[in-house]
């Protein structure tokens, strides 16, 4: 069918995540489905880990500072790397800090429909064991996570539902396979199903494509959203699904985007405390248009 087509060459200078009228913004905690040049710097996360039930581990304050860089290598295919620095402060003890394991990712856009504002990508992540600091508990083993990424805007709804058109969802579904089934202390490392999605209501989309609402003018660069981040162990003793629900907002600033979200635990197994995440996303294709915003190889513009 014409509306859903396998990809041909990409358009130059479309590093933002567009599908038809829809701009899918990168969100703080759910990886978006676009294999484009992206630069998230920095992402701050703040949360508290409760004390362990047996009392051996104290309540710990944690701050994560991470940077993610993705580069389109050839049309619709990108590689990325994420570097995270972690600060830990257990109550009653000295604080410690160090790098978490390096994380590498690959992504390929396989299906798109501009008319239906739909995209599906495949890829995966490798968390490189031993590349981080043992002081902050970085695993000594690698974890491999094949993933699906998707995005769907609802601009194709009938006009009777026009105020629902600004809704969009992006999500990921991954299966994380740890390189080692167990640890020296006898604990097990289960495979986990990692599922996440972001549900957003785009005020810019409403104003630009549905209806210009005068009283929303001051908010025309704002996108309220809620993200869900879930992990479900599937073997080796299983365990409970853990995760957070993250209500928040994005601000589109032209060359950059700012996002802020609360992180609310979904259950007692996740923890009792609400955290927060704050992210600045730099649209590097806007800042360095000659370097970013197009693939390194098979760039359509190079053929002209």
């Amino acid at each position: 069918m014409a509306v859903i087509a396998f990809h041909s060459l990409t358009n130059k200078l479309q590093a933002h995540g567009f599908e038809g009228d829809r701009f899918f913004p990168p969100t703080p905690t759910t990886d978006d489905p676009f294999a484009t040049d992206e630069f998230a710097m920095p992402t701050f996360s703040f949360f508290n880990t409760p004390a362990s039930a047996d009392g051996t581990e104290p309540k710990t304050h944690q701050i994560d500072l991470s940077t993610e860089f993705d580069k389109e290598i050839f049309p619709k295919f990108s590689l990325g790397v994420t570097v995270t620095y972690i600060f830990l402060k257990p109550e009653g003890q000295l604080g410690t800090s160090g790098f978490d394991n390096l994380s590498f990712s690959a992504k390929y856009q396989v299906l798109e429909s501009a008319k239906h504002e739909f995209i599906l990508s495949v890829g995966g992540e490798i968390d490189l064991g031993g590349s981080g600091s043992k002081l902050i508990g970085a695993e000594s083993y690698s974890t491999y996570t094949p993933m699906f990424y998707y995005g769907k805007g609802f601009g194709d709804l009938p006009n009777a539902l026009k105020y629902l058109k600004p809704f969009a969802v992006t999500g990921t579904l991954g299966y994380a396979i740890p390189g080692e089934a167990g640890n020296a202390d006898g604990s097990l490392n289960p495979d986990t199903l990692q599922w996440a999605f972001a549900l957003e209501y785009s005020v810019p989309y409403l104003q630009q494509h549905v209806e210009e609402v005068e009283w929303l003018k001051p908010f025309q660069n704002w996108i309220p959203l809620v993200e869900f981040q879930m992990n479900t162990p599937v073997n080796r003793g299983n365990g409970f699904t853990t995760g957070t629900i993250n209500p928040g907002v994005l601000y589109e600033g032209g060359r950059f985007q700012i996002g802020a979200e609360a992180q609310i635990p979904v259950n007692g197994s996740t923890g009792p405390n609400v955290g927060a995440v704050f992210q600045v996303q730099i649209f590097i294709d806007d800042i360095f248009p000659k370097v970013f915003g197009h693939p390194i190889f098979f760039n359509k513009d190079d053929e002209k």
């Binding site: 479309q14 933002h16 494509h209 730099i282 649209f283």
Partner: protein, 114 residues
């Protein structure tokens, strides 16, 4: 950490200092997006940044036929096209913007003539 903080401040300042090389999005239009109006004589779009002449603008009727005067005028941050006297119905505006820096964006919206 200090050098990282300085780098971060430089990048954010650079990013926010000017939108001169960002993408061109629709700021507002006349007729307004999604509005119901008496027959307009032209359709005009105000974009968020300057445009190149290669930018295009079309007005289509409900059957998808182009009904504008094919005389698109691009001037800095605006583009406009004349339309003949339009009958009652729903019309779709399709625009493709080439920003002054070369970034391309596109979009559609409808308005209704009563």
């Amino acid at each position: 950490m200090k050098s990282m903080r300085i780098l971060l401040i430089m990048i954010v300042a650079w990013a926010s200092a000017s939108l001169a090389e960002a993408h061109a999005f629709l700021d507002h239009a006349e007729p307004k997006v999604g509005s119901t109006v008496a027959a307009p004589t032209e359709v005009k779009l105000w974009m968020t940044m300057g445009l190149r002449k290669a930018s295009t603008l079309q007005v289509l009727d409900a059957s998808g036929k182009e009904v504008d005067g094919k005389d698109v005028r691009v001037n800095e941050e605006t583009m406009a096209v004349s339309v003949p006297r339009l009958g009652a119905g729903t019309y779709t505006v399709e625009w493709k913007a080439v920003a002054s820096c070369g970034h391309k964006t596109s979009g559609t919206f409808v308005f209704v003539v009563k």
